[in-house]
């Protein structure tokens, strides 16, 4: 079994784990991060997209709110290119006329969260589709944040600082020290792409596996009670608003609408679930989101929806048993030596995407205490690669495609992904599936949901694979993401081999279609149904995708994609019976 020696082993390639690896590497720790799938495959890549101003928690959880506004200001500098400065409204809809808005306003003032009340007229001028019967509107510095890009950029920063980032590496079990079961000395890790085990020995292991943190801790005999709070979101086909809309009331289901990239996302629900791995979207959730969405944007329930997905909150509260909506959004660093008498292991859990940097800082502070202090934390002043491009704006891909005459280069027409963007993503980052490329460059995220790009992308990767076999393979563990989002800059990038290229084109195609299908089922009506009928004709009638050669080939992700992501009324009835 190959062995790796390091100071810190970080488990989990979400925002938190990658943040920890970045911070740790900057402070001079030898750091290895393992993620069982692709980076952000967990909750981080399934979140709502809101860079919190803190407004949401200002009354209920002022401490979280304070952290949010502080981190909000920092991330706008360190991760500027991942953030769109949309601003946010807190809208007092007719239902929300009570004492809360005044409390909200006072609390914002108290915590130093900029909050300006504007006239309804001004609000409607900015957001014409917003509920015209709103009583009051407050403006706060919310933003929209791309967690794929932010995490990838942070990973690249970590790697530049010396960290090793290994995706498709799953922790099978933590390893106890020989003769000392109360000490963790690393983990046995499965390299799922190559099907071999690796032993990683570390002075300190940091469990940043989010909702899966309990599963990891258990392998060392430690109990961490994670409350997996599932949340479902729906994306409408285009931007109906350009400002984040929040209901001005105690946080509840379906009360935020976020414009992010080309879509408008309503969210979320919040339900305790048993297993973070098997998330199903229930019909009542979809109904609830549409109903609640109508209160902020009357008519949004009739819009075209292109996708539904669910993420699971890694909420943690010692000895807590209530509803998951009421669990604190605070994070904690668990020192298992002090807490459980198991040395060599920390768990970082809870929090929000917005606070990932702070969570990492606190975690690495704790590591410093245990391993001997290194440099102080510098992440708040260290911009990640890509930041030079400035804040995200919606039109940038369109402008670049037009100015550089790249329209004939488009692979994904909906999201304006050029062939060079796709190839560079596959060549510069470890890529196992087309879904990994989706997280890199937004392949297949538009209205046709992979209808027209899947076969093109599979073919292009096949060509890369053929080239791969003719030249030597590069180090598969480097990340280069700073320029991936830009049609213009990719046209000029230097390029290498496809990293981690294993699947056959047929497998790539089947996997991606299955993956897209999962998120389509819950919203399959109206215009999206029409789209899917066309996609079905393309793949099943024209390409016979159900009966391609190598029918039995599977990738490490095939099983996950083919699990049902929706529970039907029939399922519910069967369960209740």
């Amino acid at each position: 079994m190959p062995k790796i020696e390091t100071d810190l082993l970080v488990i989990g390639g979400g925002a938190t784990g990658v943040g920890v690896a970045w911070d740790a590497a900057l402070r001079g720790f030898r750091t290895v991060l393992v993620e069982k799938r692709d980076l952000t495959h967990g909750t981080t890549g399934r979140y709502h997209g809101l860079l919190h101003s803190g407004g949401r928690y200002v009354v209920k959880d002022p401490h979280s709110a304070e952290e949010c506004i502080r981190e909000n200001r920092i991330l706008r500098k360190t991760h500027a290119h991942c953030i769109e400065d949309t601003g946010g409204f807190f809208v007092v809809t007719p239902e929300d006329v009570n004492a809360y808005p005044d409390q909200f306003q006072a609390a914002c003032k108290n915590l130093g969260i900029p909050c300006e009340e504007i006239s309804l007229r001004a609000a409607l001028q900015r957001e014409p589709l917003m509920n015209p019967r709103a009583a009051r509107v407050f403006v706060v510095p919310d933003g929209a944040a791309d967690s794929f890009q932010a995490t990838h950029s942070t990973a690249q920063a970590a790697q530049i600082a010396g960290a090793q980032i290994l995706n498709y590496h799953e922790v099978v079990a933590l390893i106890p020290a020989e003769g000392d079961p109360a000490r963790v000395v690393g983990a046995r890790v499965r390299d799922v792409a190559r099907g071999e085990d690796v032993e990683i020995r570390a002075a300190l292991t940091i469990n940043a596996a989010g909702a899966w943190a309990g599963v990891i801790a258990r392998t060392a005999g430690v109990t961490v009670n994670v409350i997996p709070g599932k949340g479902t979101m729906l994306a409408a086909n285009h931007r109906l608003i350009n400002t984040v809309l929040n209901r001005c009331k105690m946080p509840d289901d379906g009360d935020i609408i976020v414009p992010i990239h080309t879509v408008t996302v309503i969210g979320t629900t919040d339900e305790k679930v048993q297993d973070p791995e098997h998330l199903t979207i229930e019909p009542w959730e979809v109904e609830l989101l549409l109903r609640e969405g109508d209160k902020l944007i009357p008519g949004i329930s009739q819009a075209r929806f292109v996708r539904a997905w669910a993420g699971v909150r890694p909420l943690y509260q010692e000895h807590y048993a209530g509803a998951s909506r009421d669990a604190t959004r605070d994070f904690v660093v668990l020192d298992h030596a002090a807490r459980d008498g198991v040395a060599g292991l920390l768990t970082i859990i809870g929090g929000k995407w917005t606070t990932f940097r702070l969570m990492a800082e606190k975690t690495v502070d704790k590591a410093c205490e245990q391993l001997g202090a290194r440099k102080p934390c510098s992440t708040a002043e260290t911009p990640v690669p890509g930041v030079e491009h400035g804040h995200y704006w919606l039109g940038h891909r369109l402008r670049e495609v037009e100015q550089n005459h790249l329209q004939s280069e488009l692979v994904c027409e909906c999201e304006l992904v050029t062939r060079a963007m796709l190839e560079n993503a596959a060549r510069n980052n470890p890529t196992l599936t087309l879904d990994d490329l989706r997280r890199d460059v937004r392949l297949g995220m538009g209205p046709c949901q992979g209808g027209f790009c899947t076969y093109r992308a599979a073919g292009i990767l096949h060509e890369l694979q053929v080239q791969n076999s003719q030249s030597k393979i590069q180090d598969p563990n480097t990340w280069h993401v700073a320029d991936l989002q830009s049609p213009a800059r990719n046209a000029k990038l230097e390029i290498g081999n496809w990293k981690l290229g294993v699947g056959t084109p047929n497998l790539l195609l089947r996997d991606f279609l299955q993956e897209r299908w999962k998120g389509l089922l819950p919203i399959l009506w109206g215009r999206q149904l029409k789209q899917e009928r066309l996609d079905e004709l393309i793949y099943l009638a024209l390409m016979n995708a159900d009966h391609l050669p190598d029918e039995d080939a599977v990738s490490p992700m095939s099983d996950f994609y083919s699990r049902r992501g929706i529970s039907t009324t029939a399922d519910t009835e069967a369960r209740d019976a």
Binding site: Q125, P128, N242, G299, L398, E413, C414, P447, L534
Partner: protein, 422 residues
């Protein structure tokens, strides 16, 4: 600028299923790579344009000719051409309107000025030197078929002078700027035909339909013109008078283009829509009601009929053809070219003239293929007739002129009413 509502044409982008049918039909995208095609510039690009954006990300929509072929072939009902028009308007809103396009938008005023002294105006403008200067200074294509001012006075003046038929049955006539200032003959033929049917023709006050402004992205000014027409025509609509127009593109604007692009749908615009007719459409309706006289003379000739994209956009079939086919001896041949290329003011622009001519090539080829003996070509829109004249050297005539000739009322060659020639 224009705010969004659920009724905005831009919302129809959600109907797009990406099938690319529009792309393969767009006559402009077929001949130039300056324009990426309807799907790319329309529903696709629209997802990258915020309603309140500070700068427009793309300017290639400027190359959309607004021919609406894409709308017609889209199986999903995406209003692509209108999405493009609104994107253009946004660009104009941000950057202002180029002087040339400002002039194009005000062709009614040009018409009126030239009308004061048409001979001088024609001489002054229609000579190679001034056309060259217009191209160099303004960017008005030097060879494009700009019409000549009518030298026999404008249509309204003629109408006011003449003795009218008084009758129980009445019909209102919308002539549009081109008939009034450049081709009064079309209006005369129309009036003669309508009276031949036993209708009294009334002439509502009216102004430019705003098409040139809509095409050039001048939405606020276009809205003023449209509202003004709405007000002027309302009394006629209220009285239940049908309003017929000889310029099929003006009729289209008044019926639906303006309301859709400007997001102005209301009861009044609905009523106008119901009351407006393309003249051929109205004549076909008379035919179907058994009210169309069939005392035709024989016209022994072949006439190529180019279906204007604006006429297609009405979704009313081919009424011009239906009516002309009644004429004994007349061999009307329907072409299937998508667009003549000129498309409103598009082909008059120096940078687009070549594109317009290439687009028109299909139509020109069709006309040429009908034989050397062909003297006249017909189309419902004046723009197409001028472009066909320019591209084929045949004489362009409105279907109603041919009809008037067949009723023995009109000299097709000299474009005069026979009654006035004596």
């Amino acid at each position: 600028m224009h705010t969004t509502s659920w009724h905005s044409v831009s919302m129809t982008l959600d109907e797009c299923i990406k099938c690319n049918i529009c792309t393969s039909y767009c006559p402009v995208a077929a001949v130039t790579d300056k324009f990426p095609g309807p799907k790319y510039a329309g529903p696709q690009a629209q997802r990258f344009r915020e309603s309140g954006q500070i700068t427009s990300p793309d300017v290639w929509v400027d190359y959309c000719s607004a021919c609406r072929v894409c709308n017609e072939v889209c199986p999903s009902g995406v209003k692509i051409a209108e999405i493009n028009a609104r994107a253009k308007a946004q660009i104009v809103h941000e950057r202002g309107i180029p002087l040339r396009n400002w002039f194009f938008g005000r062709n009614e005023i040009l018409g009126r000025i030239g009308n004061l002294a048409p001979q001088i105006a024609n001489l002054g403008f229609h000579n190679p030197v001034s056309r060259l200067m217009a191209e160099k200074i303004l960017g008005v294509a030097r060879h494009a078929p700009i019409p000549h001012w009518s030298t026999e006075g404008n249509f309204r003046a003629w109408f006011a002078r003449r003795e009218k038929l008084r009758a129980e049955k009445k019909v209102a006539y919308f002539h549009g700027c081109s008939t009034n200032y450049y081709e009064p003959a079309v209006g005369k033929a129309a009036v003669a035909v309508l009276e031949h049917l036993g209708y009294e023709v009334v002439l509502p006050p009216q102004n430019c339909c705003a098409l040139p402004m809509l095409n050039n992205g001048e939405f606020p000014a276009a809205e003023k013109l449209f509202r003004s027409n709405l007000k002027k025509l309302a009394p006629y609509v209220d009285r239940g008078l049908p309003i017929v127009g000889t310029s099929t593109s003006c009729v289209l604007v008044l019926r639906e283009e303006a309301t859709e692009m400007l997001d102005l749908e209301n009861a009044q615009t609905q009523a106008l829509k119901a009351g407006m007719w393309d003249i051929s459409e109205w004549l076909r309706e008379r035919l179907e009601q058994g009210e169309l006289p069939t005392d035709f003379r024989e016209l022994q000739m072949v006439v190529p009929y180019h279906v204007s994209c604006q006429a297609r956009a009405h979704r009313m079939g081919r009424p011009g053809l239906d009516v002309l086919m009644l004429i004994p001896g007349l061999d009307v041949r329907e072409g299937n070219a998508k667009c003549c290329g000129l498309a409103g003011t598009y082909g008059y622009k120096a940078e687009k003239y070549d594109i317009a001519m290439q687009v028109g090539e299909d139509a020109f080829r069709f006309v040429r293929a009908q034989g050397e003996g062909v003297r006249y070509v017909t189309a419902d829109s004046e723009i197409c007739r001028w472009q066909l004249e320019h591209g084929t050297q045949k004489l362009g005539r409105h279907p109603v002129e041919i009809l008037a000739a067949a009723y023995g009322l009109y000299d097709l060659d000299r474009r005069q009413l026979l009654a006035e020639m004596k």
